[in-house]
């Protein structure tokens, strides 16, 4: 399978008064089309930095990212983003929020309205198209954000801790929902989380990052069959993966596992 995203020796340094700080050590990673890859690691390990570099929102100090062979210099077409906060516009209804990318690019609304309504249905918000964000719960708002990211039919979906602000129950529900959406509309997904559990549940591969200064420690293949149910968490392979990833995050390279 040809890689859709190639991340080659990407490094990020910040120059501060204290000197040059490494936010992300040289990182390489290839992601295939329609693959679901999670990046898991503790806070401050450079997960978000890496995602912003892939999204073309942040220049890297060294290395390069290519999407479909084209080097990323500014935000490319065909990428949808979901952040930890829903980042909805409070003055727009659900429908108008979902239509935001089309509006920003001055595309005719009429051409996208049907698609937006389909997406609202896809994420389970049928009947809420004319509601304002404040009338929705946190989980529902995040569903709107997912619909918005899918509107222009991106090949790549970048999700930065999208369920990090939700309670545990809603989070499990959203994990199932995301898997279902991904099954119905297969996309390449780069998913950032600090929940090991969530990463293993959703992903084909999990990229494990080390604490600051962050870098890739290992990449774990999750070969558990799909579609996965909530009970996959009781599967011995699942438990094994989770344990292994936890060890990888907190052990020093070459050192003993605590």
């Amino acid at each position: 399978m040809a890689a859709l995203i190639e991340i080659r020796d990407v490094e990020k340094r910040y120059t501060t008064r204290a000197g040059s700080q490494v936010a992300l050590r040289p990182t390489s990673l290839e992601i295939a089309a329609e693959e679901f890859v999670s990046i898991v690691g503790p806070s401050g390990c450079g997960k978000t930095t890496l995602m912003k570099i892939v999204a073309g929102l942040l220049p890297c100090t060294r290395g390069e990212v290519r999407i479909d062979g084209v080097p990323v210099q500014e935000p490319p077409d065909g990428v949808g983003m979901v952040f930890q906060a829903p980042t909805l516009l409070r003055w727009r209804t659900v429908l108008d929020n979902v239509l935001l990318p089309a509006d920003a690019q001055r595309r005719p609304r009429a051409r996208y309205e049907a698609a937006a309504r389909d997406l609202i249905r896809l994420v389970g918000l049928e009947g809420f198209a004319n509601h304002y964000p404040r009338e929705l719960s946190g989980g529902m708002q995040q569903r709107v954000a997912i619909s918005r990211a899918l509107l222009l039919e991106p090949r790549l979906l970048l999700m930065d801790e999208p369920f990090g602000a939700l309670d545990a129950m809603t989070r499990e529900e959203m994990n199932l929902e995301l898997q279902r959406i991904w099954n119905e509309q297969p996309k390449t997904v780069l998913f950032i989380t600090h929940s090991i559990d969530e990463a293993v549940f959703l992903s084909d591969r999990v990229v494990v990052m080390t604490p600051r200064p962050g870098g890739v420690r290992a990449i774990i293949d999750v070969e558990l069959p799909r579609p996965r149910t909530l009970h996959v968490r009781e599967h011995p392979r699942f438990i094994e993966h989770v344990g292994r990833i936890r060890d990888l995050i907190w052990s020093k390279p070459g050192g003993a596992i605590p």
Partner: protein, 258 residues
């Protein structure tokens, strides 16, 4: 509607209690009327003055509204300039801070020298103290936009002008209106001070005259009318706010709201 009536009940009782306490202490302590007339005397004076109020009320409203409108127009234009240009911001921010520290009221006698007795002086003083809250609030509102929202806008490749009109401008509205609320009360103070310092008409002027004639009931009646005007202006601002931001659900957009 019944909910509303019930909501209005407690404040009405509080108002009535204060007036009752005032009236009761006048009955019990019997202060000379020129020190503290009872509510009954103030109401009697209010009615007895009759059509005499009209010119004074009109003059005061003119000063307030002219100063307030000028503050809103110039304050928000100034905020847009500050936010749009780094050069302008760097050049005038220290100046603005300095001017903000200077007590504007201290300029009142000077403004009288510059503009003479009349509406121009009164409106200018009202403008001077109402201007800064509008300017500062609007500027803060335009600058403070969720960073994720700006990243989102970049990732969907939104043009700069679109970001300003569709994201920055609407998200500044709650701050703009918070500034307007403060400005509406300050404009009343400014106009009345203008009438104190040098005027031959207006409710503030009438207070000075009443004081000289030891007509305390008339002074209090004038204060009552000024408060009523201030309250009406404030109410108009709140109403406008609700009309402009139906999506905020009447909470004024900023939480917590009074």
């Amino acid at each position: 509607m019944r909910e509303r009536l019930r909501g209005a009940l407690a404040p009405t009782i509080a108002f009535a209690a204060v007036l009752a306490l005032w009236q009761a202490s006048v009955w019990i302590l019997r202060p000379p009327p020129f020190i503290l007339p009872g509510v009954d005397r103030v109401i009697a004076r209010l009615i007895a003055f009759g059509p005499g109020w009209v010119t004074h009320i009109v003059a005061t409203i003119e000063g307030i509204v002219l100063g307030f409108v000028a503050a809103v127009v110039l304050g928000s234009l100034g905020a847009v300039l500050i936010v749009a240009s780094d050069t302008i911001r760097r050049a005038i921010t220290p100046l603005l801070v300095t001017i903000q520290i200077v007590p504007k009221i201290a300029f009142a006698p000077l403004i009288l020298v510059w503009f003479g007795i009349g509406l121009t002086s009164r409106a200018t003083i009202a403008f001077l103290i109402a201007f800064f809250p509008v300017l500062v609030n609007t500027a803060v509102g335009l600058v403070q936009v969720e960073p994720d929202l700006l990243d989102l806008a970049r990732s969907i490749r939104a043009p700069r002008a679109w970001v300003f009109f569709r994201i920055r401008f609407p998200s500044s509205l709650p701050y703009f209106f918070a500034g307007l609320r403060v400005a509406s009360t300050l404009a009343v103070i400014g106009a009345v001070i203008g009438e104190f310092v040098g005027s031959d008409v207006g409710l503030g002027y009438l207070i000075v005259i009443a004081n000289n004639q030891i007509d305390t009931a008339l002074g209090l009646a004038a204060i009552f009318l000024i408060s009523l005007i201030g309250l009406l202006l404030y109410g108009a601002v709140v109403l406008l706010e609700r009309l402009c931001m139906p999506w905020a659900g009447g909470t004024g957009g900023l939480e917590p709201s009074l």
